[in-house]
């Protein structure tokens, strides 16, 4: 426990907060934060729209190949980040046939905002789907059946019974996948170095300006991550 806590305390003591204050006002830093958070939010919204219905199906239906689908969803958990970067580049860069179609739609991957979103969706999908799926599994199907006999169709039942009852897991899944998206750096180094996300900026400054600058940049990111973590703990404890 101390092993994990000590660096957090030391960073707090060793940081030049005056420098941090000045840095967060610099345009390049501000833009890196905005890029990171908008990309992470976009990836989480895409995941929520696609992932919540998929989670519901995985929690409720039995079909052939279900375990294969579940395994595929979890693959990003075990792939090294650099490999994810290569995979995205190989499959979706504009030189490939799929990437060609995507870039015609404006979804260019390499060194582009959408490349960042693609990487983030890829790495955070399992966190959202697994968490939300567990939430739906914990809702007694009999509640849904009773709602149906009371005249609610499948969609109404989903939105008035299943989703509100699983909302803690849904919120936890959304926060986890957002945090995972924010923390991604390895695959981004390969797919989309530009526009610079905050993690890439930290690495770049560490390499060029040294620890002092990198340190000052990590503090605001750390604060945001810890606040999110506290939110998750609060929500899961109430559940």
């Amino acid at each position: 426990m101390l092993f994990i806590l000590i660096p957090l305390i030391v960073l707090h003591i060793a940081t030049n907060y005056f420098l941090t204050y000045k840095l967060v006002q610099a345009e390049i830093v501000l833009r890196a934060f905005i890029t990171t958070f908008t990309a992470a939010s976009a990836s989480t919204i895409i995941l929520a729209i696609l992932g919540i219905p998929l989670s519901y199906i995985l929690a409720r239906r039995e079909f052939r190949g279900k375990s294969i689908v579940e395994s595929i969803i979890d693959i990003p958990l075990v792939i090294p980040h650099a490999v994810v970067g290569i995979l995205i580049l190989v499959a979706y860069s504009s030189r490939t046939s799929i990437g060609n179609i995507l870039s015609n739609l404006g979804l260019i991957v390499e060194d582009n905002f959408w490349g960042i979103v693609f990487v983030m969706v890829y790495v955070s999908a399992p966190l959202l789907v697994d968490s939300v799926k567990d939430g739906f599994k914990s809702v007694d199907p009999m509640l849904e059946y009773v709602a149906r006999t009371l005249g609610a169709g499948p969609y109404r039942t989903f939105f008035t019974i299943s989703l509100p009852m699983a909302w803690r897991s849904v919120v936890t899944g959304i926060i986890l996948s957002w945090a995972r998206a924010v923390s991604e750096v390895g695959a981004l180094l390969i797919v989309a170095y530009y526009p610079k996300t905050i993690n890439i900026l930290i690495i770049e400054w560490f390499n060029t300006f040294g620890l002092e600058y990198a340190k000052s940049l990590t503090v605001p990111l750390l604060v945001i991550c810890i606040v999110l973590f506290a939110c998750i703990r609060y929500l899961s404890r109430r559940a």
């Binding site: 007694d140 009999m142 059946y145 009371l150 005249g151 008035t160």
Partner: protein
């Protein structure tokens, strides 16, 4: 009715539309609803654990079916108010389901089902989760609701006495099949298979005649002997006709045995009986006795049997309360 694992709940869920049968049809009021989804069938389900929506208040639970039907909010208020007054749960409307007792939950589940005025109401062992004292009042509640609202109820139970008391017709299920359908007396007096007999054979069933009343109880004479028993006053809903002849049922578990005459008991009926037979029923024993030519059956635990050291031919005292006698009326 039928033993657990007979397929009663599955049949109920098939009628509700939760399962689609691979063969056969489900008809409600002559309409084939086999392929209809549950929301188009006009059935209301009251599951065994009541399945109240835990994230909604009692009011929101009861009004759920009205809101899905697009009923206006003033009418919702009115109808929820009416049904909750009838079920005596008006004071619970703002509460969350997890704060309710078992009996209160049952009333809320019934209100939620009744308020939409379904053609059929499906009750899955509605009294199973209640403690014994509440069971009796729950049954009379069901009886009076049924008399007032006139819905068709399909009531699943594994309790033969509950079935006899409440049903117009009983379907006896075992092993996924319906073995016999008929009026309660038909099932009781004319069981068509050994499975049905196993269920009906162990309850104490007699025809009897009302011969008078004494200190708040009525006096019955069990036929064909003239053994007199004291029973609690007849509930008003029973139509006895003019003959004074009734059927009575006593549950074997309501009869207590002892070797010595009971000194302190509130039981109004105490008899000397001769043990005829002891039958092993797994964790319990069925004791078959003779009282003045009337056969009386009682369950006792293995431990009680060892304590009492009962064997066939022994004399024992059998006693039961006046309220243990269920009067069924003549149908």
């Amino acid at each position: 009715m039928g033993p657990s694992g007979a397929g009663k709940t599955l049949l109920l869920h098939t009628i509700a539309g939760i399962y689609v049968p691979s063969r056969g049809t489900v008809r409600i009021g002559g309409v084939d609803v086999t392929v209809f989804p549950p929301e188009k069938r006009s059935v209301a389900l009251v599951p065994q654990d009541y399945a109240l929506f835990p994230h909604l208040t009692v009011f929101e639970n009861i009004s759920y079916g009205l809101r899905t039907r697009g009923v206006g909010s003033s009418e919702i208020e009115e109808r929820v108010k009416r049904i909750s007054e009838e079920l005596e749960i008006s004071h619970l409307l703002h509460r969350m389901p997890r704060t309710l007792s078992g009996g209160e939950q049952q009333r809320v589940a019934l209100a939620r089902a009744l308020v939409v005025e379904p053609k059929v109401i499906l009750l899955d062992e509605p009294t199973a989760a209640l403690d014994p004292a509440l069971k009796t009042s729950a049954r009379s509640l069901l009886r009076s609701l049924h008399a007032k609202h006139g819905f068709t109820a399909i009531h699943v139970t594994h309790d033969i006495v509950e079935a006899i008391e409440l049903a117009d017709r009983i379907a006896f299920m075992s092993g996924g099949r319906i073995l016999q359908i008929g009026e309660p007396m038909e099932i009781l007096y004319n069981p068509k298979s050994s499975e049905v007999l196993k269920f009906t054979g162990e309850i104490n069933l007699y025809s009897a005649e009302i011969v008078g009343s004494k200190s708040g109880c009525i006096v019955l004479e069990l036929k064909p002997s003239n053994l007199r028993v004291m029973a609690a006053p007849i509930p008003q809903h029973l139509d006895l006709g003019e003959t004074g002849r009734v059927h009575v049922v006593i549950r074997p578990e309501d009869i207590v045995l002892s070797k010595k005459p009971p000194i302190q008991t509130s039981a109004r009926n105490v008899y000397e009986a001769v043990v005829e037979n002891l039958l092993d029923r797994g964790p319990i024993y069925l004791v078959v006795m003779d009282v003045m030519g009337i056969r009386l059956k009682s369950y006792i635990t293995r431990g009680a049997l060892e304590d009492l050291r009962i064997k066939p031919g022994d004399k024992v005292y059998a006693y039961f309360k006046a309220s243990s006698i269920r009067i069924l009326g003549v149908k």
